[in-house]
């Protein structure tokens, strides 16, 4: 077969240019091998080069070692219909694309150059220039909330810190440069500007540092303090936050009920609730008694991260129409919490035999909560833990379908709940949702996937290659809610 193709190529060499160019693609892999053999066996080095190339007059950077041709264009440039405006080849060489040709560069194109009987493939790609700040931390402790669209970074630090001498750690996307380059300590008593530049893209970031007596992020739980939380699952989540989220605090529902805590000081409050056997489980009594306080907090602009059975707070204060024992603060438009909940026992978990994942909704991959995750094989999936992890598979999700549950499709679900679905299970069930701010209220992120799990009974999950994603997602969600 390959022999046949080669003879075809010989014939085609004297045929019309178009046919030649098209057909050479067909044996590029074969001839790559031949080319290497010849180069190794003799002193000859096959000089199969594309000298220069431009698309829509944007000049390409050609890497003759890795055989890539990269054209940078400004961010947002329409790459679907571009023209090869320059193609400079050695005399006598031909390529599978030609000057003047229109190309769709949304995905790369393999370009084959043919010269003196040799072939070489190049990968031609158009890369929109962009800049992005990936991380901004002061004194190694205070993580800034980054809004890459607006070009703002907000950081809150304790009043005890010296705002005029703060050490900056700033990470940007590869190839981008920062001006001024953060070195030593810097004075943030006034907002500071950093300009991040990469080729044609440039963005000015304004960093604003505010100081506070106390933290503005809280975990609310059923124990009087963290040690008093009965559920290992809830305790693991609270402990992680106090250790890893700067300026975070623990508050108890009972302190809210007795009026010992003023919720208005917080920008974000996270509640993660677990009970064994989670078939529409009731919330702790104090959580139900604190409904009015949290309703005021939410309506006044306070943001909430509700995870697992804490999604009960989505329901109406009069109770979920289908489950009167589920009492919330009226976040979901239809007054309901998820229509499908279940879960196992913390002390008798299932050991999973492969990684557990859920899927980002297409179009939501860029949502802040999904950034920086550890990737698995499927780029659309969020990997939560790997084979060997112990889980209760405690879930509170929205079943979507005309068969039961009241949400025949995702459009209906969005309309009824007022939420945006960010992630779904394999069967289309909504497992992560966001309620945008309405009439001055705060924002809410709700996570009900059985994959979102903190505590693995009698299993050391520190080596689990995906479990860190639970932390990353949670931190992302807190920062996202805090930043608005």
């Amino acid at each position: 077969m390959k022999t046949l193709l080669k003879s075809i190529y010989s014939t085609l060499a004297i045929m019309a240019m178009l046919l030649v160019a098209a057909s050479f693609n067909a044996c590029s892999k074969t001839d790559d091998v031949d080319l290497r053999l010849q180069t190794e066996g003799t002193t000859a080095t096959a000089t199969v080069y594309i000298n220069s190339l431009a698309i829509d007059t944007y000049k390409a950077v050609i890497d003759h070692v890795n055989h890539t041709i990269t054209v940078n264009v400004p961010q947002g440039y329409n790459v679907d219909k571009m023209k090869i405006t320059e193609l400079n080849l050695p005399e006598g060489a031909t390529t599978s694309i030609k000057a003047g040709e229109t190309v769709n560069m949304r995905t790369p194109i393999t370009v084959t150059i043919v010269y003196n009987g040799h072939h070489q493939d190049y990968t031609l790609q158009v890369v929109p220039d962009y800049v992005e700040v990936l991380e901004f931390t002061l004194n190694g402790t205070y993580r800034g909330f980054i809004n890459n669209e607006e070009g703002t970074i907000a950081v809150t630090i304790l009043k005890s810190e010296d705002i005029t001498a703060l050490a900056v750690t700033m990470k940007v996307n590869e190839g981008a440069v920062i001006n001024p380059q953060p070195t030593g300590t810097m004075d943030f008593s006034q907002p500071r500007e950093f300009v991040v530049t990469k080729n044609t893209a440039s963005k000015t970031y304004v960093v604003t540092v505010t100081q506070a007596e106390k933290g503005d992020i809280a975990f609310v739980g059923s124990g009087l303090n963290v040690d008093g939380i009965a559920s290992p699952e809830e305790k693991a989540a609270a402990q992680w936050m106090l250790k890893n989220v700067a300026m975070s605090e623990y508050i108890s529902f009972s302190a809210v009920v007795t009026g010992d805590v003023d919720l208005s000081q917080y920008k974000v409050i996270w509640w993660h609730h677990h009970v064994d056997g989670g078939d529409n489980p009731p919330s702790p009594e104090d959580a139900n008694n604190a409904v009015r306080d949290f309703m005021n907090y939410y309506k006044s602009g306070g943001n909430l991260l509700l995870t697992r059975y804490a999604l009960a707070y989505l329901a109406s204060p009069e109770g979920d129409p289908d489950h009167a024992n589920i009492i919330g603060i009226g976040i979901s438009k239809d007054g309901r919490w998820p229509n499908n909940s279940w879960g196992g026992n913390e002390y008798a978990p299932d050991i999973v035999d492969g990684p557990w994942t859920f899927n980002m909704v297409e179009g939501q991959e860029k949502h802040p909560i999904f950034q920086g995750l550890i990737q698995g094989e499927n780029p659309q999936a969020v990997y939560c833990f790997d084979k060997g992890y112990a889980t209760t598979n405690s879930t509170a999700q929205w079943h979507i379908g005309s068969d039961w549950g009241g949400y025949s499709n995702h459009d209906v679900w969005r309309e009824k709940t007022g939420a945006i679905d960010l992630a779904r299970g394999g069967d289309g069930a909504v497992v992560i949702a966001e309620w945008p701010s309405t009439d001055g209220s705060g924002k809410v992120i709700g996570i009900g996937s059985g994959c979102y799990d903190w505590y693995a009974h009698e299993i050391d999950a520190s080596g689990d290659k995906y479990h860190k994603n639970i932390e990353i997602m949670t931190l992302n969600a807190i920062n996202y809610l805090k930043g608005e």
């Binding site: 077969m1 075809i8 046919l19 160019a21 098209a22 219909k81 599978s96 995905t107 297409e362 094989e377």
Partner: protein
């Protein structure tokens, strides 16, 4: 001869040698036709009826009739059966020509995949249509991130192709699925409009969309064409008109229903309404439009103006284990061609495209058990002399009980512990592929296909085999394609499973 081919031939030769060391080896020259023991046969000869390339296997066929050359060009996804990584390039388009669906010319690669980062890093099914001397190939580009787009290549001879680097249709641009947007297929309506149908999803629901064109160059944006039933996904959809009816032939991706099926309508609009609001308006009332069984997939049809042929692939099975069910078959296999038969009520069935190829005649000699003949009592069987590599068997079965059962048993010697049967259960209106065994606990049902039973209990059976590919046709009602390893060069039998039966008009041809 290239190296790959040489190695393959050496491997085949080695396999044949290995077979000689097997305890089951029988010296072919000694009483070959009278011997009754199982023979561990190998696929030493090239496939003659159900085409496979010299290296690799046939995936999704894209048949077109080339009126310029008076032959069918069968383009297909060439599956080399290597390890497939997430970002690897695979499934270039190869092509083979045929005038009858049973005899084939040289195969060749015609459209390579793109590079690892290209939109067509992997190629998926498409179609080829010729207009004014230009051949247009619309095909699926499946990128490394799983996204899919419809792409185009053009040619002046159907062999040498030029990819169009500008043409792309992305489903996500029009509200359809980013990852399921594939299998473009073109048909023409009487107003000379070309319709390109594409399999995709909208909000998760399987949907066929269409683009239209007058010149095969400029296309409208994709819009809704028809739904897929329930939660199913129809791969390789093919719309055509035959006589007074419009048809959709499709391949259900759902594992338990993974086979070719069809809908019919009295008009194109009527056809679309078959699945409107999950109407499930099947063309028949007994088999949900099934055209065959799970032993054939990715069926598309083509006409030369006189006949319409259907091409699909019969998958191989891992470990060459016929009974390896419910484990899913391997992807790709042999090209299988059926002729489409249209009944007066518009229902379709598959029949052999031609049997002319089987030119030599041989006696189907009864070799046991003692006293066996053409009349078989319930529970008994009659065994016949060994099959060759490429066989055509025709016979009639007359069941004493029209609700009875009989089986055609393959790869069966008198010493066999297991063998495989195509068993007709008239009482259940279907045929099964079954693993039979001397130890009852090893026997199991494997696959099945429903069909309409004859009221008179007479079954006109045609069996076409090409080594391990076996197609059983009955009464223009059933076509049942299966992979049965070691069928060739072994005895076969007919068993009266329930009720007595009579065998008549038995013929045995081969080549």
């Amino acid at each position: 001869m290239n190296k790959t081919m040489l190695y393959t031939m050496m491997a085949v030769a080695l396999a044949a040698t290995t077979a000689c060391n097997n305890d089951n080896y029988i010296e072919p020259t000694k009483n070959w036709d009278d011997s009754t023991k199982y023979f561990a046969s190998t696929e030493v000869a090239a496939f003659g009826t159900y085409f496979a390339p010299s290296v690799g296997y046939v995936g999704d066929p894209m048949p077109m009739y080339d009126s310029k050359t008076g032959e069918y060009k069968i383009y297909y996804l060439w599956d080399y059966r290597g390890k497939r990584n997430y970002d690897e390039c695979y499934h270039p388009i190869h092509m083979v020509t045929t005038k009858d669906g049973y005899n084939f010319g040289d195969e060749m690669e015609v459209l390579p995949t793109g590079g690892q980062k290209d939109q067509d890093a992997a190629i998926g099914t498409g179609c080829v249509v010729e207009r004014n001397g230009v051949y247009y190939c619309y095909y699926t580009g499946h990128a490394g991130d799983g996204s899919e787009a419809v792409m185009r290549a053009t040619s002046t001879d159907g062999i040498h192709w030029s990819k169009d680097n500008a043409f792309r249709i992305y489903g996500e641009d029009y509200g359809y699925d980013k990852k399921d947007f594939r299998d473009p297929q073109i048909f023409q309506t009487e107003d000379e409009t070309y319709h390109m149908i594409i399999a995709t999803r909208q909000w998760g629901k399987g949907t066929i969309v269409e683009c239209t064109s007058k010149d095969l160059v400029t296309w409208t944006n994709p819009t809704f064409f028809m739904n897929m039933q329930w939660d199913r996904f129809y791969e390789c959809p093919d719309v055509f008109k035959m006589g007074n009816y419009w048809y959709l032939v499709y391949n259900d991706k759902t594992q338990f229903m993974r086979m070719p099926q069809y809908f019919k309508g009295t008009s194109l609009e009527d056809l679309k309404n078959c699945t409107l609001n999950d109407a499930g308006r099947w063309p028949d009332n007994y088999r949900e439009g099934k055209l065959d069984g799970k032993g054939i997939y990715a069926v598309k049809t083509v006409t030369n103006g006189k006949e319409r042929l259907a091409f699909g692939w019969c998958p191989t099975r891992a470990g060459k284990d016929t009974g390896n069910v419910p484990t899913e078959s391997e992807w790709a296999g042999n090209l299988v061609c059926h002729k489409i038969v249209q009944n007066a009520d518009g229902t379709l069935a598959f029949a052999p495209a031609t049997t002319d190829k089987y030119t030599k005649t041989k006696e189907a000699k009864i070799i046991g058990p003692k006293g066996a003949g053409y009349d078989i009592k319930e529970g008994d069987h009659t065994m016949f002399s060994r099959l060759m590599y490429h066989n055509l068997l025709t016979f009639d079965i007359k069941l004493s009980d029209p609700k009875g059962r009989f089986s055609i048993d393959f790869a069966r010697g008198t010493d066999s512990e297991v063998w495989y049967s195509v068993q007709v259960n008239a009482d259940e209106n279907k045929a099964n592929l079954e693993k039979k065994a001397k130890k009852a606990e090893e026997a199991k049902w494997l696959l099945d296909s429903q069909f309409k039973q004859p009221e008179d209990g007479i079954y006109h059976v045609t069996v076409c085999t090409d080594q391990s590919v076996c197609v059983v046709y009955i009464n223009n009602e059933l076509s049942f394609t299966n992979r049965i390893y070691n069928l060739q060069m072994n005895p076969w039998s007919i068993t009266a499973v329930k009720g007595d039966l009579k065998i008549e008009n038995l013929t045995f041809k081969w080549y």
